[in-house]
């Protein structure tokens, strides 16, 4: 569904006369292949190029070199633009800056309005989308009175109403409290399981990627590691090199194991850890 073929993207900084001052390769020959229905997570420290990668999936940015295909459509071609953006929705970091309308239901209807869905169907889609994210009770409220987690769920509903095949979330939890974080992760996990929507979650919170099918680790514009969460978190030292931390409980288990305790390799959740220690 999402295909990156040797994608390179350069941010070019120019001085006042328009001469090139410096070239910053945000992406460097990235290959990526996401199948329909996958839940993948992309991990990376600040400046690793993960947000740039996310913007390529939605055709907000197009590659300097290489090609990005979304369902066999080239993102560089202008005529595919609306179709690509309808197929791959995008949720951003700041919940306030992506809600456009003054009412929750009107905001959810914004996307379908843009792609020219008939009025009656917009209402059906809005009802469906709000139901899926559990925000039906707030449909006639102003988004200003919602919590961060609720706002992000409204943003997700706004994408859902466009009937996407894939949702890209660019650090959706970075500005939320722990409760809001849990709400968002639960919502997207459910959408993936029940609706079969492909999820691409970009984050630097390790604990959020535990539920993903595959994890990609990015650093300096490249994908450095790739595998299931268990395979990735096994390599604690290597992750640290990319300025990433494993989940706390994995770290404790790892250290205990290094000190000679009989604990299996790579513990991901607190429950697992409890079982090993007590049982």
């Amino acid at each position: 569904m999402v295909n990156f073929d040797k994608v390179t993207f350069e941010y070019i900084r120019r001085d006042e006369e328009g001469n090139v001052e410096s070239i910053n390769k945000a992406l460097n020959e990235v290959d990526l292949d996401v199948k329909k229905g996958d839940f993948i997570a992309i991990l990376g420290a600040n400046g690793s190029g993960k947000s740039t990668l996310a913007r390529h999936i939605n055709a907000l940015l197009t590659p300097t070199e290489g090609t990005v295909f979304i369902s066999e459509m080239d993102t560089k071609e202008e005529k595919n633009l609306l179709k690509i953006r309808q197929k791959t929705g995008m949720v951003f970091q700041n919940p306030d800056n992506q809600i456009i309308a003054g009412l929750v239901e009107e905001d959810v209807g914004f996307g379908p309005e843009n792609i020219g869905v008939p009025t009656k169907e917009i209402w059906e889609r809005v009802a469906f989308a709000l139901e899926k994210v559990g925000m039906t009770a707030y449909r006639e409220k102003s988004p200003n009175n919602l919590s961060g987690g609720q706002k992000q769920r409204v943003a997700i509903a706004g994408i859902l109403a466009m009937k996407p095949e894939c949702i890209v979330l660019d650090e959706p939890t970075a500005m939320l409290d722990p409760k809001g974080r849990r709400e968002v992760i639960e919502t997207i996990t459910e959408l993936n399981k029940k609706e079969g929507i492909t999820i691409i979650l970009i984050t630097h919170y390790m604990t959020e990627v535990v539920g993903a099918d595959k994890v990609y680790v990015m650093s300096e514009g490249n994908i450095k590691m790739f595998g299931t969460p268990r395979q990735i978190f096994k390599e604690v030292e290597r992750l640290k090199k990319y300025k990433l931390d494993v989940p706390q409980v994995t770290e404790i288990a790892y250290r205990l194991r290094q000190n000679g305790l009989n604990i299996p390799e790579c513990i991901l959740t607190v429950d697992e850890f409890m079982q090993c220690v007590t049982g």
Binding site: F92, N97, G102, E106, F110, N114, T119, I122, N144, M162
Partner: protein, 263 residues
């Protein structure tokens, strides 16, 4: 303190006037204002004033609240009335120093004062009974014909509705900046007006910077959701005329005809 500012001064009740189509109310206000300038005798004020009172009663808005809308205009109104009173030539009634009061002056001042009062009351009745968003939608539709002349009507309406959505957010942000600057010892309360105005700079600059950042992010989010201007766009809540709008238009026609033929 900044939270108390209400924009658009909408007064929520479930009245017929509130339920009228925003286009009806917008065009109705224009018709009302035009009719105010059509008559030449005081009988006209009886007609338009009666019309205004009927509307206020129908809209379930307390008279006190409506009159409150006049307060910011009061000074301007008095100023203009006094000028008209003293500057109109005609049959002299009294003289004092360089001022002369004429019979015509009194008439003109009273006429203008009443007309302006009605004008302000009538148009504030529109903002009392229509939410800003509906008003924007109504204006977009009313001015839709300007698209032929390449006026970006849809884009302007979209800008207004986004501005309305961001007012509370920016107010909150302003509060945050004020507190952050106060925590670092900024003083906004003491000193003369010049010093106080200067003290606003450390509030305004961060506010501007963050507004631009927000605008950029919002534009990106809108683009990501397939926004591409007004073309090919459908509406979730299209405006629909109902029977009550027809009745309203008939009343307005009655008013304007009445104003033309009044003695």
């Amino acid at each position: 303190m900044l939270r108390d500012i209400t924009i658009g001064q909408y007064y929520p009740t479930e009245s017929v006037i509130h339920r009228l189509d925003p286009r009806t109310k917008f065009l109705g206000t224009i018709i009302f204002v035009v009719s105010l300038f059509l008559f030449k005798s005081f009988w006209g004020f009886l007609l338009t004033g009666g019309f205004l009172v009927c509307l206020t009663v129908l809209a379930h808005i307390p008279f006190k609240y409506v009159l409150k809308g006049m307060r910011p205009m009061l000074f301007l109104l008095l100023f203009m009335m006094i000028f008209t009173l003293l500057m109109t030539p005609g049959e002299v009634l009294g003289e004092w120093w360089i001022f002369t009061v004429t019979k015509e002056g009194i008439y003109a001042a009273l006429f203008m004062g009443l007309r302006l009062t009605m004008l302000v009351l009538g148009s504030s009745l529109m903002t009392y009974t229509t939410t800003p968003n509906k008003l924007t939608a109504g204006m977009e539709s009313v001015f839709g014909f300007l698209k032929i002349f390449k006026v970006p009507v849809h884009e302007l309406a979209m800008m207004i509705s986004i501005a309305l959505r961001f007012i509370p957010i920016l107010l909150e942000e302003t509060n945050k900046i004020i507190k952050a600057q106060q925590a670092r010892g900024a003083d906004f309360e003491s000193g003369g007006p010049v010093k106080r105005a200067k003290a606003m700079v450390p509030i305004l600059i961060p506010l501007f910077v963050s507004s631009f950042r927000r605008a950029g992010e919002l534009a990106e989010a809108m683009e990501a959701r397939c926004y591409h201007g007004g073309e090919g766009r459908t509406k979730m809540k299209p405006l629909k005329y109902a029977k009550r709008d027809l009745v309203a238009y008939l009343c307005l026609i009655g008013l304007i005809v009445g104003c033309i033929f009044i003695p």
